[in-house]
């Protein structure tokens, strides 16, 4: 009996202390952003790293600046385990929280992005798929609510072929070369198959696609075929999670040189190469931002956020590729909030206002400098028609202990990608009966 009394009393005490706290919280202006994180499963490194950086940046703005012009950033995590069904569940759970519902959603999974495109469009919530997702959603006329920001998969791929061309001594030298595309068997992995075929026809190289089933631990047959039979000049590694170190180890086993493997940016993190050990030395991967903790903004996050014990990731992982990617996502998202606040006033923004902010987003080199992120990201301009921004790509080589930048920013090839995006998105519009928007000039409401 005494025990029950103690339990009841402690419960009452808990309610008494917690309730006033939550009431005082509600008085602030709070911009709610859901975090569809994955800290478990074969892709946990990506999910925890990305959202670690993303949440740390929001925490930095809250702690240092008191939010964005006084509007606090709040977020709630929901574990998806990179599973599309759970992604939909998390989206539905979190979309109506906050004063005007979710501000933006970062699904951090191409599969979940595909599941959410129609839902977010119906709910009027911008869907940011930064460096992943559905490529033809770049056409903002057909996909008003989807933003594959900075650089989409097809654009990245053109930069990759440019890089390979540079190594071969010019794009003409690609003629007759053989490239193997080792890709994750998923909507993410398959996304670049069409653009590679188009480029192969244009530059006269040969491409062979090697799908690897989820989660990508079984690649022995693929690598045997690559090294013994097909013998390509280059291998494009389009892996994800545990597939990446496995691929590098298998390549070393069959004797395929690591410096002839070019990874995409979901295959180019510390977590992808460290488990492969020596097999990864010399491996080159693409990125729309570098790794490193020397940037002033990263140092501020270590000082202020982790210094206050409010970090969302272990401090050792601060400044890694995935962390910095989350940080860039945080910068882009909060700068769009700032842009939207400039038009609609300092208040909690709705999804529609946030879309305006994204479609009129312009982050100049000076602004990047001001944010302490010089060198971390390239300037970015988004319009109603172009939801990507045409960001350039940098390549880094793994030297066994860190990623070393080996190229400057390489521009993507719009002449290949744009017509493909137009064709593909218009086919989608026709299938779905979508009327493309008009009124595309900068600063307009885009119709």
């Amino acid at each position: 009996m005494k025990k029950i009394k103690t339990i009841v009393l402690s419960l009452v005490a808990m309610v008494v202390t917690v309730v006033p706290f939550s009431v005082s919280q509600a008085q602030d202006m709070e911009q709610f952003i859901p975090a569809l994180v994955y800290r478990t499963g074969p892709y946990a490194a990506g999910g925890s790293g990305f959202f670690g950086g993303f949440e740390d940046y929001m925490a930095l703005l809250n702690l240092r600046d008191g939010g964005i012009n006084g509007v606090k950033l709040v977020w709630e995590e929901c574990e998806t385990a990179y599973n599309s069904d759970r992604g939909v569940e998390c989206y539905e759970r979190l979309k109506n929280q906050g004063e005007h519902g979710a501000t933006v959603v970062h699904p951090l999974s191409t599969g979940i992005t595909y599941r959410l495109i129609e839902r977010a469009t119906a709910d009027k919530i911008p869907l940011i798929s930064m460096g992943y997702g559905r490529t033809d959603a770049t056409n903002g006329k057909v996909f008003p609510w989807v933003f594959p920001l900075i650089t989409n998969y097809w654009s990245q791929n053109t930069a990759k072929i440019k890089y390979i061309g540079m190594q071969e001594g010019g794009m003409d030298a690609l003629k007759g070369k053989k490239i193997a595309n080792l890709h994750h068997e998923s909507s993410y992995g398959k996304e670049t198959v069409p653009v590679l075929d188009v480029q192969a026809a244009k530059y006269g190289f040969e491409v062979k696609h090697y799908p690897v089933a989820h989660p990508g631990l079984d690649q022995k047959a693929a690598w045997l075929d690559i090294a013994r039979r097909y013998k390509p000049d280059w291998v494009i590694l389009r892996g994800w999670g545990v597939m990446n170190p496995t691929a590098l180890k298998e390549a070393a086993r069959v004797g395929f040189a690591a410096d002839k493997i070019v990874g995409v940016w979901w295959s180019g993190a510390e977590e992808d190469v460290i488990p492969a050990g020596k097999a990864a030395v010399g491996y080159v991967a693409a990125g729309f931002h570098p790794s490193g903790s020397g940037f002033p903004v990263v140092e501020a996050m270590l000082d202020i956020v982790h210094g206050a014990g409010q970090g969302n990731i272990s401090p050792q992982r601060v400044g890694t590729i995935y962390y910095n990617r989350g940080l860039v996502a945080g910068i882009v998202t909060t700068e769009a909030i700032r842009t939207a606040q400039g038009k609609f006033g300092t208040k909690v923004l709705s999804g529609e206002e946030m879309r305006w902010g994204l479609e009129n987003l312009s982050i100049s080199a000076e602004r990047i400098d001001e944010l302490g992120a010089a060198g971390l990201m390239a300037p970015l301009t988004i319009t109603c028609a172009d939801h990507e921004g045409g960001g350039p790509v940098k390549f880094s080589r793994w030297d066994g202990s860190q990623w070393v930048e080996v190229t400057d920013w390489i521009e993507t090839d719009k002449s290949i990608v744009d017509p493909m995006i137009m064709d593909s998105s218009m086919a989608y519009a026709a299938e779905k009966g979508i009327e493309p928007r008009s009124g595309m000039s900068m600063g307009s409401d885009c119709g």
């Binding site: 759970r93 129609e118 068997e185």
Partner: protein, 375 residues
């Protein structure tokens, strides 16, 4: 006290053989169905209707399909995901290419396609049993997904291989202006695509699942179900008493695949809205097998209880963790704790009752009959 059969006399065979011979059960089921049809749409909660209830119904239906095959007919199958994919992509192509067909008929046709494929992959069951059969059905899983991945026509040449449910009304395109069924237009509603309301999707799913579950319940109580159980318990004896193994086993594969196919079609059209082959991978087949093991092999009700456990427990744990764990443990620790609790719960329930939730429910009912005076 309230749940007993005393005083309920049966004066005819039909009354004695009814699905729910006890009036208490009958009334209970009616009330539950009434609540299920009325309360979620009235509550207006998209979260409740979509990811919680519709998902539960879709996977409950798939589990029921597998339970007919594995639980009743004793044929272990790991091809559930593949059969669901046949239904999903079949229905997608039907709606896309023949929009005139009413959606319910599409579901039935998609189920029939899955049934045909199921019969094809059921043929090895005549010669092999148990684990060997499981491996043979595994082949169907890989083969079917490979087809949908590599033949672009099935996904209408989508670059990422995603089939996205077109907007479709209940009676189909024939209710359009000047078409044959135009007079039905006023009562026609959009049931799929981004403009369909969650209420319509939920009620349609529930209606389909209730009809199919009732059919299954009657099926397993009749001639077919008894033949399946005879084959399951002792196939040679069953053959000697006149049950034809070929016909019985293939019928089990056909009907099971039909249910899985309809579940796949519902997954695309009323639950998620789109799907690629990832949605129907091997892990899905395993998950559905776990549903019927935890729910109870050879039980219609158990299929839904098992589906509820597998589908609803992870989000429930996640909600509990994120509400109680705020500020106590790191996000990573909470996410992993969730997995530990989930795994622990499965072990606990199987250790307590190896025959699954269905058996537990039966025990509860037996105790209820005597409550509150068990002696």
């Amino acid at each position: 006290m309230f749940y007993r059969e005393v005083g309920q006399y049966k004066s005819s065979y039909p009354a004695d053989q009814a699905i729910f011979p006890l009036s208490n059960d009958r009334i209970g089921v009616m009330i539950i169905l009434l609540i299920a049809f009325i309360w979620p749409p009235l509550s207006g909660s998209q979260y409740l209707m979509g990811p919680i209830l519709t998902q539960l119904l879709v996977f409950g239906l798939a589990a029921l399909g597998l339970n007919l095959l594995t639980g009743y007919a004793g044929q272990v199958s790991l091809g559930t995901g593949g059969f669901m994919a046949v239904g999903a992509f079949g229905c997608y192509n039907l709606v896309l290419r023949l929009p005139e067909i009413p959606i319910v008929i599409d579901f039935i046709l998609a189920g029939l396609m899955a049934a045909a494929v199921g019969v094809l992959f059921g043929i090895p069951s005549l010669r092999i049993k148990g684990f060997y059969l499981a491996v043979a059905t595994l082949a169907s899983q890989f083969f079917l997904l490979w087809i949908f991945d590599h033949v672009g026509w099935f996904t209408n040449y989508d670059p990422a291989g995603v089939a996205s449910a077109p907007t479709q009304t209940f009676f189909g395109a024939l209710t359009g202006e000047g078409r044959a069924l135009e007079f039905l237009a006023p009562i026609d509603v959009i049931v799929s695509g981004p403009n369909a309301t969650p209420e319509t999707k939920y009620v349609l799913t529930l209606a389909v699942v209730v009809v199919l579950a009732l059919l299954a319940k009657n099926l397993v109580r009749g001639m077919t179900g008894r033949a399946w159980m005879a084959i399951r318990d002792f196939d040679i004896a069953a053959e000697i008493i006149g049950i034809r193994p070929l016909r019985t086993k293939l019928l089990a594969f056909a009907i099971s695949s039909f249910y899985c196919g309809v579940a796949g079609a519902l997954y695309v059209f009323t639950y998620v809205g789109n799907a690629d082959t990832e949605a129907f991978d091997l892990i899905r087949s395993f998950t559905i097998l776990f549903m019927i093991i935890i729910g109870g092999l050879g039980s219609v009700m158990g299929s839904f209880l098992g589906a509820a456990f597998i589908v609803l427990l992870p989000p429930f744990l996640n909600i509990v963790a994120s509400n109680l764990g705020e500020g106590t443990l790191s996000g990573a620790a909470l996410a992993n704790l969730e997995l530990i609790v989930y795994g622990g719960t499965i072990v606990f329930f199987l250790a307590v009752e190896p025959l699954g939730f269905a058996r537990m429910w039966q025990i509860v009912k037996e105790k209820l009959r005597q409550w509150p005076f068990p002696y």
